[in-house]
Amino acid sequence: MSNKEMNAITAADDLLEFLENHPSFVARVHSVFPHAVNLLVLEEALITLTNQDDITPMGLRVDCGTSFAEFLKAGDEIVLDIDRFAAINGFFTVNLRNAEVWETRSILILDALPAETVSQTRFSLMRWLAKQPVQGLLPLLPRLTRQLMSSKPANDNLYSRHIADDLEAFMQAINSSDWKPALHLADRLIGFGMGSTPACDDFLAAYMVVLRITNELNPGRFPWIREFNDIIASKANKRTTLISANMLRHAAEGRVSLDQQQLLQACFFKSDKDLILLAEKVLRHGASSGGDFLLGLVCALKWYQIAITEISKEGDKTWVEYKRLQPVPTL
C-alpha cells in the first residue's frame, strides 16, 4: 500500500497543546469509521481525525478524499508531532503545518444575551425540533417539554420508551435544584442507548455544557456545577464507551464539537448565524446523536431560564422565595 498523504485543515487548540507537551508521542488507532478515526493516547484519551465539516475537541479536520478504513485499522501505531502525524507502517501521514486553529472554548469569553432572548431561542428550537424525524430520544420531546406541538403521534422506540421515566425524573430534579437526586438519576442514564455515543450521553453532554456556560457567566453563583460535571465525567469512564466518556469529559469542561459550539453561541451569545441552520447541522450528527443532544439542550435551557430568572429576581429584590443551594455532593 502506498503512503496516503493528507493535510490538516483545522486543529483543535487542546490537541495542539497536547502535541506541544508530548513530542513524538506514539498513539494507537482505537477505532476506524469511514469519516473518522480515533487515536488512543494516555490510556483513555482520544484524538479524533475527521474528513467531515465538524470537528471535536482534541480533533483534527483533514483533507482526506476517501474512507479512513481503506488505509487504517485498529491497532496501527501513529507517531504524533506538532507538525506531522505519521503511521509507523508508512501507510499514511498528515501534515499539520497549515492547519487553522479552532478555539474550543472561545464562546466562554462572550457577553450573554438577556434571559428572555435565550428563552425565545429555546422556544424556536423546540418548535423546530418537534417537526424533525423522531429518532433516538426525540419521541420524548413533547413529554419532557410539556408541549403538544404536533398532531402526529410520537413514533417511539424501545430505547426511548424504556428510559422515559428516568429522563423526566432527572430533568425535574435539576429544574428543582435537587442535585443529589439528579446525580443519582444520572446513573440511570450514562451509557444508555445504541452506538458509540449512547443516546443518553448525548443528552447529558448538552446539560453539562449548558451548566458549564452558566457557571462561567455567573461566577460563584453555582458552586456545585464543576463538581456535578466532574462526577458525571468520572462515572462515564467506567459506565460507557471510551468514545462517549471522552465526549462527556470534554462537555464537563465546556468543550463540544464546532457545530455544537456554534449552536450554543447562537443560543447564549450574539451570533450572525441562523439558529435553525446551525441546529440542522447538529441534527445531522450520527443517526440520533444530534437529536439527542438537541433534546438535552432544550431541556437544559429550561433549567437556565429558571436559574437566571431567580438570579434576576434576587437582584431586583422582588423575589419571594429563596431557594437554598444544595450542598455539593461528594464522590
Binding site: N7, I9, H30, S31, F33, P34, H35, N38, T50, N51, Q52, D53, R61, D63, C64, G65, T66, S67, A69, E70, A74, Q135, G136, L158, Y159, H162, R188, L189, I190, G191, F192, G193, M194, G195, S196, T197, P198, A199, C200, K238, R239, T240, T241, L242, I243, G286, A287, S288, S289
Partner: protein, 525 residues
Amino acid sequence: MTIHTSIKKNAYYDSVTLMLLSRQLQELAGVEDVLVGMGTELNLDLARDLGLATGEFDTLTPNDLFIAAKIDEAQISMKAVEDAFNEYLNKSAESDSDEDYQPPSLSSAIQALPGANMVLVSVPGQYAAAEVEDALDAGLHVMLFSDNVPVEDELRLKQKAVEKGLLMMGPDCGTAIINGVPLCFANAVRRGKIGVVGASGTGTQEVTVQIHKLGEGLSQVIGTGGRDLKAQIGGLMMIQGFESLIADPETELIVLISKPPDPSVAEKIYQIAKSSPKPVVIDFIGGDRAAIEAAGAIPCISLEDAAQKAVKVLRGQEYEDFTGFSLPEEQIEQIVEKEAAKLKDDQTELRALFTGGTLADEAMKLLGDHYDIYSNIPLSPEMAIENLPEGRGHICLDLGEDEFTRGRPHPMIDPQTRTEFFESHVDEKTAVILVDVVLGFGSYKDPAGAVADSVREIRQRLSNQDRDVVVIASVCGTELDRQDLNKSITTLEAAGIIVLPSNAQAVRLTDKVMQRIKKGAGDVR
C-alpha cells in the same frame, strides 16, 4: 424460542449502522426479538428487562458490541443471524466508502472526483468568494448560486476567470445547462444547436422551454448572475459566455437574455454581435430595439418571441414579431367574453402573483402601457407597492424577492408563500389573477397542484358573496420535467384556470380580459 448472545470485542459502529442493522435483523424469519448495542451497564439492563440476557453478558465491557436475539432455532440459527449482521455491515461499509462520502473541502472534492471541471458553489455569501477563488485557481469553471456576494468580489473573481479562460456564472446564478447537465433551477430540454447566455433565471428557463416546445434544442445554457451587465461588472461573463458560444462548434445560433444593460456594457456586446459569424437573437427585456438591429442582431418583444425567432432563423424561415396567440383569435375572444361575464361590475383589479422575477418583469412591461401596476419590483419608483393607494389597485409581485423569502424557501421550491398571498391579496374587488407555474429541476414537486388548491379555496370564499374570479396561468416546463407539463396543465384546467402556452400569451389574455372589463365599467386606471 431460545436466547443467544453474540459478542464483538472492541467493536465500534455508529448508531446509524446499528439502528439499520437492528431493523434488518428483526425482519429475518425466525427472529422474534433482537437488541444490538454497546455493552454498557444500562444497555445490558435493558436486554435483561426484555428477557434477552444470557450468561455471556458477564464478560461484556462498555466497548464491546453485543447482539442479543430471541430466535426460533427451527427456522434460523444464531450463526445465520451473525452472518446476516456481517453481510449488512459489509454492504453498509461499501455504501459509506463511495456514495455517501461528503467531501469537507474543495480540495478533497477534487481528489475524490478527479477530472471534474466545474464547481457549483452554494455557501453563505460572505464565504463564497474564497471558495470561488480556490476553484478558479484549480482551473475549474464555477457556477455561484450564493447571493450577497460583494460586487467588488464579483468583479475580481470574474476578471480572474476571464484571464484563465473560465466561466464564473453568478453570483445569484440559478439556471444553467452545461453539456446537457441541468444545474440548480433548469428544465429538462433536449440538446440541440441553440446556445443561450442569460442574466435572468426564469427568463432563461422560459426561453429554453419555448425552444424545446418548438422542436429544437439547446447546446449550452450559460448564466451570468443579475449584476453582470451593470457598469461595475462590465458584462464580463455575458461577453465570456457569448465568445464561448461563438467558438463552440455545437452552437449554431446564440440567444442573449437580460434586463436592459448599462449602455457602456450594451455597446461592448453589440460590437461582438457585429462580428459574430453566427446569428444572434437578443432579448434585453424592454431594451433598445434600434441599437440591437444596428448591431446586426435580432431584437425581440418577449421571451417567447426570442425563442420563436431563434428557431425560425435556425431553420432558415422568415420571422416577424410574435404578438399573438397560439389559439385562433376567435377562440381567444370567446374565452375573454366568457370569463369577463363571470365578474361583477366592481371587480376591476389585477393580482399577478409570480414566483419568477423575470416573468413578473416581463408581465409589467407588456401591460405597462395600459395600467398603473404597483409592485415590489416596480418599473418606476412611484409604482412601488408601498405607494398603493388605500390598498386598492393593480398589483404584480415577484414573490421570489428577498423580502418574501427571508427565513423560508423560494416560492419555486415551497409554494407556501404564494398560498398565503392568495389568501391575503385576493378579495371581492379582484377581477383577474395571473400566475406563473415553473416546473423543472429544483422546483416544487407539484406547483400546479398548489395553485389549483389555492384557486379552489378562493373560489369557495368568493362564492359566499356570489362572485367568481378569472385565473390565468402559464406553465414554464416541458413534458420531460419530472412534474410533467401535460399533467400540470390538466391539474390547473381542472380547477377552472385558463392555461396559456407562454408567459407573454398569458399576459396578453390578461390584458384582453381587463380591457373588456374596462369597457363595461369605465377606466380603472
